[in-house]
Symmetry: C2
Subunit: 379 residues, 2 copies
């Protein structure tokens, strides 16, 4: 009884279980494919002599971070929120770039406290904010490493290239409690731009802006140790630019339906990387001919980038996602009650944020359970 309660309440699977014994909906990782994706990017970075700092906003897991550092060629990891960083550092990750801005005074205190536990680098795009960081770091008797986040077309955080940027970088460089580490130049909008030529056009601008920023800073005597950016959808551009020296790809480890739409220059997909992440789901109703209902809806996956696709099953389509159910068109009535299906999520990052465990599967057997350490750590 205890075992069943435990399975039901917290953990969807046990090591050694067969795939169809997993409690659904669950997030499963095909370990063979996952490891191949990781190895492929590691080789890519090595072959191209560029540093790789994989982004943990995708998986939010300390286990995966450790694997990427040990076996995936990563110099450290990125994350996107302070509480993610805290969760990952608490779980043993030792080199973290927070690719974001921290402005709340209480959070700034927490941020500078992290410098005593691990290497932590943060982004800044505002002089007042940099002053606040400097005061807090000085008070904590520490030095906080900073990247100046620049605007390269993403239009989210980032200061435009120009006099204000230089003033900000100089302030960071001259503050005894801050260290100027370089620039953050991420073109997020381009990652999911499907057509190669459209993506190229966006990256041409981003790379130009980045080059301009580096040159301007150099003319002021400021050297960038890190010129970071690039995601799964654009990293070949940043790599070939000759400007960037650190890639921040995240989704390549898992992929998702939306990334499968991103075309490369020969018209093919991002074909080196295959889906390794699935929402595993059970058919709970087939009371009407031609359709079946599964147990994975909006609370088990994010549909912000479109619906999931059913993996490895022809002529069955996931056509509607409601709160706790998925509606499947099944014209041949293939699916029976309690059958299992594997869904490729529309968008991997926010889907991972809904689950507490990755269930690692190899040859149809559960091999590992990785807690999603920083799930819900969005503050």
């Amino acid at each position: 009884m205890t075992e069943k309660l435990e399975l039901g309440f917290n953990v969807p699977a046990k090591v050694g279980q067969e795939l169809n014994e997993i409690c659904t909906p669950a997030l499963i990782v095909d370990l063979d494919v996952f490891e191949r994706n990781v190895a492929t990017m590691k080789c890519y970075a090595e072959d191209n002599n560029i540093r790789l700092r994989a982004h943990a906003k995708t998986h939010k897991s300390a286990d995966i971070s450790a694997y990427l550092i040990k076996s995936g060629g990563c110099c450290g990891i990125c994350c996107q929120k302070l509480s993610e960083a805290e969760g990952l550092i608490r779980a043993g990750v030792e080199d973290v770039l927070l690719t974001n801005i921290v402005v709340d005074p209480i959070k700034i205190e927490r941020l500078v406290a992290l410098t005593k536990q691990a290497r932590i680098i943060v982004c800044v795009d505002d002089l007042e904010n940099a002053k606040n960081l400097a005061v807090a770091a000085e008070r904590a008797n520490t030095v906080l490493e900073c990247l100046v986040e620049i605007e390269v077309g993403h239009m989210v955080c980032g200061i435009p290239i120009g006099a204000d940027m230089i003033e900000l970088a100089k302030f960071v460089d001259e503050s005894p409690s801050l260290k100027f580490e370089g620039i953050q130049a991420y073109q997020g909008m381009a990652q999911h731009t499907y057509e190669f030529s459209d993506r190229q056009a966006l990256l041409d601008i981003a790379i130009d802006e980045t080059r301009k920023a580096v040159e301007l800073l150099a003319s002021e005597g400021l050297t960038c140790n890190t010129i970071g950016g690039g995601g799964t959808g654009t990293h070949p551009f940043e790599t070939k630019s000759g400007i960037y020296n650190e890639l921040q790809c995240g989704s390549y480890i898992f992929m998702d339906v939306d990334y499968l739409r991103v075309k490369m220059d020969d018209g093919s997909y991002l074909s080196d990387y295959k889906p390794s992440l699935f929402v595993y789901s059970t058919v709970v109703s087939n009371a009407k001919p031609g359709r079946a209902i599964c147990d994975a809806g909006l609370k088990a996956q994010s549909v912000d980038s479109g619906l999931p696709e059913i993996f490895g099953m022809a002529n069955v389509e996931y056509v509607k996602c409601i709160d706790e159910h998925g509606v499947l068109l099944d014209p041949e009535d293939k699916l029976k009650l309690n059958d299992r299906i594997s869904l490729i999520p529309g968008h991997c990052d926010p889907t991972c944020n809904l689950h507490e465990w990755f269930v690692g599967v190899r040859n149809g057997v559960v091999e590992s359970l990785w807690p999603i350490t920083s799930r819900g750590k969005f503050f």
Copy 2:
């Protein structure tokens, strides 16, 4: 330090704090509005002499369930997943309708085990499934209450009205380990159908089908103690039908942007109910004129039903939701770094599923912290 760590890692606020001291993004509840919404529905049900069994799939919170039963006129609560039911019952809720189908053998065992801890009712739409429930309940030496879920136009779970439905209901009625409690007749698709006349057309069909089902069952000597359905968007139809005797509204306690689009027969909105739930967020970047960036993105709210709206602030618009940020158009550059904004979520249910705490606020001060007991309990 401990206090700050605690705030950062798990709980976004403390009782007694001012609103602007809350760690963002956080899910806040305007307690005055929430209580007014709850009281309004209570009066509606009493005035119309219909039972109210509010749906916990909206909030997933044992505290709110208890409040709705004690002060909201509710005879019990609904929930949508077995693990939600387990979480709520473990936290003290005593009367739970699981408005869903349970097919996995391990889950069926857990379901029948709940009958020893609280009143639990489950839905069935398949004879084989009913047989499995009967065997498990018999083995556990218990009786499991069942509603036969019928198809009324929602096209999710539910057996069409006819001979198979009667066979299923009779099997349930005649099984010593099952109890036939009535029917589940929910038209979910109609809840967010914005135009009154379109909603009416869907409900005309649903009510006709439900009446047919009740009459067919009666002709076989089967009485329905419960004829349940209705949500925030349609409950006046079910109430006036004279057929339904139990409403299952959930969202009325919070409302959301999508429900604010649902028009009533006089062309007005669902005007008795006001937004009480907000994603509270901080401006983290305003490095570019005319726009600001806040810290509430896809991981703090669900956009399946559209973007959030900014509450109580003219000429600022939330125009883009990315993983960890929201992009705000702010042509007058009103927003400064570290300013707070309140967002009405596009869709309340899956937004609540992302957070771990409701921060109850009255007169600008944190009054209560309710854990979202069944967050992530989607299996």
